[in-house]
C-alpha cells in the first residue's frame, strides 16, 4: 500500500465513511497501526478519538484502600527530578500532565480540555506551534486554581540549566507562551512532527507555580514541596518515606466526576520482583505489582494461585547486541575503540551477517524470556507503525558457516576459523543478570558450531551502566567486540531513539563517552535521511524515512536485535486497570477500580 492509498483512507475517515477503528485495524494489517497511527490521523486532519473508558463506578470513593507494590520504591516525588520510572510513577499519584498516552498510543486529555488537532486549530499548518486549551475549574490540592501560568512556569523551571531537571531535554528547545488564562502556545524553532512531548506523559507532569516559583534554578533542591507534593491528581498527599512507602487519600475535589474509586492509596516499595509477584498473583496481599522482571515460567506458576494475573503492555524496549565498528584492542592516540580505527574482523560484512544468523532468537524467547521477551529482527518494534517489514531474523548455522567459508575464513585444527593468521574470536560482554548470561551461552554455543570462538564477559551492572570515566568496563566505552543490553524507548515515537545511530552522537574520549552512538557506526546516508525526517511534517513520509533509517542500521548489523521487552505488571483479578507502555504505570490511576 502506497502513500497515496493511505491518504485516500485518511480522507475516508475524515468524511466519516470509514470509522477510526477500521482505519486503525487496516493499518494494523499493514504493520502500520498503533500509537502514532492516531497522531498520523491528527496530522492528516482527523480529530483524535477519546479513549472509551468503561468506567463503571457511579460515585466517588467507597473502594477502600488500593494497595500497590513497587519493588523499587520511589525515592523522590518531583517529576522534573524523577530519575527512573519508579519516581515518575510515584509522582503520578499526585501530579498530572496535560495529556497522557494510552496503550494504543492515543492521547487522552488529563488537564487539557481537548487534544490539539488541525481541526480545532491546535496544530499549526507549518508544524511550528501547538495550542493547548486547558481544562477549567481544575484546582491544585491546596485549593488554588490551575491556570496557564502554571504551564508556562513548568517550562521555565525545567528549561533552566541551573535546575538540572531530568526533563530539560523536552523543554529547553521550545518556547511557551500564555495566550489567555486557559490557553498556552508551545512554539518550536523548526517544524516538529512529534509535537506531543512537552506537557505530555511521563515528562509532562505539571507542578504548581505558587509553590515552586521561589525555588527555581540552583535553589530547586530546597523546595519543601519536593517532598510533599501538591498536585491536581486523584489522591492528596499523606506520607512519603523514600524507597519505602508513598501514601495518599482521596481528593474530594478531583476534576473528573465519580473518580477516584478508592478512598486511599498505599504504595509500598522494596524487596524483590519475585516476592512482589507472589504477593499479588499468589497470596493476593496486594492489588498491583510493578515491573515484574521475573522469568515467565515462575510467573505462570504463580498465576496458578488464581488471585491475580499478568498484564503485558507493548513498549519499545529492546534487548540487542551491539557490534563494534572500531578496534577495541589497539590504542590510537591513547584511546581504545577510537574513531580513527576500524575493527580488524567485524568490518567485514560477511562476518557480521554470519553473526546475525547465529543468534537463536526463538530459543532465547522460548527458554529464557517467554512472554516477557519477544524475538525480533527489528531495533524499533513499537509503535507498530514504525516496525519494519524489511528485516529478517533467520537462524542458520549452515548458512552462516557458508558465508564465512566464502569470505575465506577456514576452520583450523581447533575448529576455530582463521584467515591470514587472524583467528575468528570475539569478546562478548554484558551485565551480570541471569537471563543475559543464558542468552550469552546460547549465542556462544551456536557460534562455536560455526567456527567462531566467543569469549564471554559479564560485568556488574553498577559498573557496566555507570558513566565512570576511569573505568574501562562501562557500556558506553564499549572496549569489546560485542556487547548486549536493553535500551529503552520512552516515547511512542522513534526519533530520539534513532539518534543513537547518528554520526554526531558518537561516544568518544573527547565527550567523555557521553554520546548516544555507542556502536560508533557512521553512515552519511543515514545522517542525511535522519535530518530530513526530523523536519518532515507529513507523518507518512516521516514514518517511511524513520523505518528506512532503522533498516540501514539493522541491515548493516550495527546492532543485532534479540528480543523486545514488553512492560510486565501484575494485578488482582478484581482490579480493573489499563496499563500503557508509553506512559507511567499510574498514568490512568484515576480510572482504576475493583469489580465485585
Amino acid at each position: 500500500m502506497g502513500e497515496r492509498d493511505l491518504r485516500g483512507l485518511i480522507d475516508k475517515v475524515k468524511t466519516g465513511s470509514m470509522s477510526r477503528r477500521t482505519f486503525v485495524r487496516r493499518m494494523a494489517a499493514l504493520g502500520l497501526t498503533a500509537p502514532l497511527a492516531t497522531q498520523l490521523l491528527a496530522m492528516g486532519g482527523v480529530a483524535m478519538a477519546q479513549t472509551r473508558a468503561a468506567y463503571k463506578p457511579t460515585k466517588r470513593g467507597g473502594g477502600g484502600t488500593l494497595k500497590v507494590l513497587w519493588w523499587q520504591g520511589p525515592t523522590l516525588l518531583n517529576p522534573h527530578f524523577a530519575v527512573g520510572t519508579k519516581d515518575q510513577d510515584g509522582s503520578r499519584l499526585f501530579y498530572e500532565p496535560l495529556a497522557a498516552w494510552d496503550p494504543e498510543g492515543n492521547l487522552k486529555p488529563k488537564l487539557a480540555a481537548e487534544i490539539p488537532s488541525r481541526e480545532n486549530g491546535g496544530l499549526a499548518a507549518d508544524g511550528k506551534s501547538v495550542i493547548w486549551k486547558l481544562k477549567r475549574d481544575v484546582k491544585w490540592h491546596d485549593g488554588k486554581p490551575f491556570t496557564a501560568d502554571d504551564v508556562v512556569f513548568n517550562w521555565q523551571y525545567a528549561s533552566d540549566p541551573a535546575t538540572a531537571a531530568v526533563t530539560s531535554g523536552t523543554y529547553n528547545e521550545i518556547k511557551v507562551e500564555k495566550v489567555d488564562d486557559f490557553t498556552v502556545k508551545v512554539i518550536f524553532s523548526k517544524p516538529t512532527p512529534f509535537w506531543a512531548d512537552a506537557f505530555v506523559g511521563t515528562r509532562g507532569m505539571l507542578i504548581p507555580k505558587h509553590l515552586f516559583a521561589d525555588f527555581i534554578g540552583a535553589k530547586s533542591r530546597d523546595a519543601p514541596t519536593n517532598l510533599k507534593p501538591v498536585g491536581t491528581g486523584p489522591y492528596l498527599f499523606r506520607d512519603f518515606k523514600p524507597g519505602d512507602a508513598v501514601s495518599g487519600v482521596i481528593n474530594p475535589n478531583y476534576h473528573q466526576p465519580n473518580r477516584p474509586y478508592f478512598d486511599a492509596i498505599e504504595l509500598k516499595g522494596g524487596g524483590d520482583a519475585v516476592s512482589a509477584a507472589r504477593a499479588v498473583l499468589q497470596t493476593g496481599e496486594y492489588d498491583f505489582a510493578w515491573n515484574l522482571q521475573v522469568e515467565d515460567e515462575i510467573l505462570q506458576r504463580l498465576e496458578k494461585g488464581g488471585k491475580g494475573r499478568v498484564n503485558i503492555a507493548p513498549t519499545g524496549n529492546i534487548e540487542h547486541i551491539q557490534v563494534n565498528t572500531t578496534d577495541p584492542w589497539t590504542e590510537v592516540d591513547g584511546e581504545r575503540s577510537s574513531l580513527k580505527s576500524k575493527h580488524p574482523i567485524l568490518s567485514e560484512k560477511p562476518v557480521r551477517e554470519a553473526l546475525a544468523m547465529l543468534i537463536d532468537r526463538a530459543s532465547v524467547e522460548k527458554h529464557i524470556y517467554g512472554r516477557t521477551g519477544v524475538a525480533t529482527g527489528n531495533f524499533v518494534n513499537n509503535p507498530e507503525r514504525y516496525r519494519s517489514k524489511n528485516t529478517t531474523m533467520e537462524f542458520s548455522i549452515e548458512k552462516a558457516s557458508d558465508l564465512l567459508e566464502k569470505a575465506g575464513w577456514k576452520k583450523g585444527a581447533d575448529g576455530i576459523r582463521e584467515k591470514g593468521g587472524k583467528k575468528l574470536k570475539f569478546v562478548y560482554q554484558t551485565s551480570i543478570n541471569q537471563p543475559r548470561q543464558k542468552t550469552q551461552a546460547i549465542v556462544k554455543q551456536a557460534c562455536q558450531r560455526a567456527g567462531i570462538d566467543i569469549e564471554i564477559k559479564a560485568v556488574t551492572a553498577s559498573v557496566y551502566f555507570s558513566s565512570d570515566v576511569a573505568n574501562p568496563d562501562t557500556y558506553t566505552k564499549f572496549f569489546t567486540d560485542l556487547q548486549m543490553y536493553t535500551t529503552t524507548m520512552s516515547q511512542p515515537d522513534p526519533e530520539v531513539f534513532l539518534l543513537q545511530f547518528a554520526s554526531w552522537e558518537v561516544a568518544t574520549k573527547e565527550n567523555k563517552w557521553q554520546g548516544r552512538n555507542i556502536t560508533r557506526w557512521r553512515n552519511e546516508e543515514y545522517d542525511k535521511l535522519f535530518r530530513q525526517a526530523q523536519v518532515e511534517l507529513d507523518p507518512l513520509k516521516r514514518a517511511g524515512m524513520l523505518i528506512t533509517c532503522q533498516d540501514m542500521a539493522v541491515k548493516d548489523q550495527a546492532v543485532i536485535p534479540v528480543v523486545y521487552r514488553p512492560g510486565v505488571a501484575g494485578h488482582s483479578n478484581q482490579l480493573q486497570c489499563v496499563i500503557s507502555g508509553w506512559d507511567n504505570n499510574t498514568w490512568d490511576l484515576s480510572d482504576w477500580y475493583k469489580e465485585a
Binding site: 523499587q72 515528562r203 533542591r221 518515606k241 504477593a279 558513566s467
Partner: protein, 320 residues
C-alpha cells in the same frame, strides 16, 4: 565508675570515628558506580543533564576535597544530602530508625528470653536429654542463615497457611487494638527469624559460661551454707556467668543491625538496613556514608556499654 573514665572513653572515641570516616569515605569514593546511571541508559535524557547533576552534587571534585567538605558539614551537624532522594540524610535515617529499633529490639529481647533460661537449665544438668535437645536445636538454629529461614516461614505461614502477611508496612493506618494486632501479625515472622538466630548462638554461650562458673568453689560454699538450689543458681551462678554473655550481646548489637539487612530485604521491613542496601545499589554515597557512620558509632557505643555493665555485674572490675 567515675565520670572521668566516661569522659576519657568518649574522647578516645573521637579519633577512632575520624579514622573510620576517612576509610569509609575513601572506599566509597573509589568504588565504581554512578548515582545517575539510570539517566545514562535513557536516550531521552540529554547527557548534559547528567553532567550538570554531577557538578551540582560535587561528584567531579577530587576525593580529598569532597571528604573535607563532608567532614566540615558533619562537624556542623549536617549529615549530607541524598543524591537520589534529594533530602537530608539525617531525616532519611530518622524515618527508618523507629522500625529498626522495634524489630531489632524485640528480636533481641526474644533471643535473650529464650537463651538465658534454656542455657542455664542445660548447664545445670549437663549431658541430660534436655541438654542434648537444646544443643541440637541451637546448632541447627545458628547454622541456618536468616534468608533461608525467612523464606521457609513465608512459604509456610503466608503461602500454605495464609495466616501472616509477608510484606511489612510501617505506616498501617488506624489505632487501638486492631492496629496493634496488625503490627504484631506482620512483625511475628521477621522478629522470629532474627530472634531465633540470635537466641540459638546465645544459648551455647550461656550454657558454657554457666558451666564454667557452676564448678567453682564459691558455688559449693554457697550450697553448703544451705541456700536453696534455686537461689544459688540465680544469685550466685547466673550473675557471674552473665559477664561474658553481656559482652557478647553488646558487641553483637551492631552486627545484628547489619545482619538484619537480609531479613529486612525479605520482609520489606523499612529499616536502616534496607536503606543502606538501596543506597548502595543506587550509589547514593552520602546515605551510605551516613548509615555506615551510624553503625560505627553503634559499635563504639555498645563497647562502652559493655564495659560499664561489667562494673555493675562485677564490682571487682575497676575503671581506670
Amino acid at each position: 565508675m567515675s565520670r572521668q573514665y566516661l569522659i576519657r572513653r568518649l574522647l578516645i572515641a573521637i579519633p577512632a570515628l575520624f579514622g573510620i570516616s576517612v576509610v569509609l569515605f575513601g572506599v566509597l569514593a573509589m568504588a565504581p558506580g554512578d548515582p545517575f546511571e539510570e539517566l545514562a541508559t535513557n536516550p531521552a535524557v540529554p547527557p548534559e543533564v547528567r553532567q550538570a547533576l554531577r557538578a551540582k552534587f560535587g561528584l567531579d571534585d577530587p576525593i580529598w576535597q569532597r571528604y573535607l567538605h563532608w567532614l566540615w558539614a558533619m562537624l556542623q551537624g549536617d549529615w549530607g544530602f541524598s543524591f537520589t532522594s534529594r533530602m537530608d540524610v539525617d531525616t532519611l535515617i530518622l524515618q527508618r530508625l523507629p522500625t529498626t529499633l522495634i524489630v531489632i529490639g524485640s528480636s533481641q529481647i526474644i533471643a535473650i528470653i529464650i537463651a538465658i533460661p534454656i542455657g542455664v537449665l542445660a548447664a545445670t544438668k549437663p549431658y541430660s536429654v534436655f541438654d542434648q535437645i537444646a544443643n541440637t536445636i541451637a546448632f541447627i538454629g545458628f547454622s541456618l542463615p536468616t534468608f533461608f529461614t525467612g523464606l521457609l516461614l513465608i512459604l509456610l505461614f503466608s503461602i500454605q497457611l495464609d495466616w501472616l502477611p509477608f510484606v511489612y508496612r510501617a505506616d498501617i493506618p488506624g489505632s487501638g487494638l486492631p492496629w496493634l494486632w496488625e503490627h504484631i501479625k506482620q512483625s511475628i515472622m521477621p522478629v522470629m527469624v532474627l530472634g531465633l538466630f540470635q537466641g540459638a548462638s546465645l544459648v551455647r554461650y550461656v550454657r558454657s559460661a554457666v558451666l564454667d562458673v557452676i564448678k567453682l568453689d564459691y558455688v559449693t560454699t554457697a550450697r553448703s551454707k544451705g541456700i536453696g538450689e534455686r537461689k544459688v543458681i540465680t544469685k550466685h551462678v547466673v550473675r557471674n556467668a552473665l559477664i561474658p554473655v553481656v559482652t557478647l550481646v553488646a558487641l553483637q548489637m551492631p552486627i545484628v543491625f547489619g545482619g538484619a539487612i537480609v531479613t529486612e530485604q525479605i520482609f520489606r521491613v523499612p529499616g536502616i538496613g534496607s536503606l543502606l542496601i538501596s543506597a548502595m545499589l543506587s550509589n547514593d554515597t552520602p546515605v551510605v556514608m551516613g548509615v555506615t557512620f551510624v553503625f560505627a558509632c553503634l559499635v563504639i557505643l555498645f563497647n562502652l556499654i559493655a564495659d560499664i555493665l561489667y562494673g555493675w555485674l562485677d564490682p571487682r572490675i575497676a575503671f581506670r
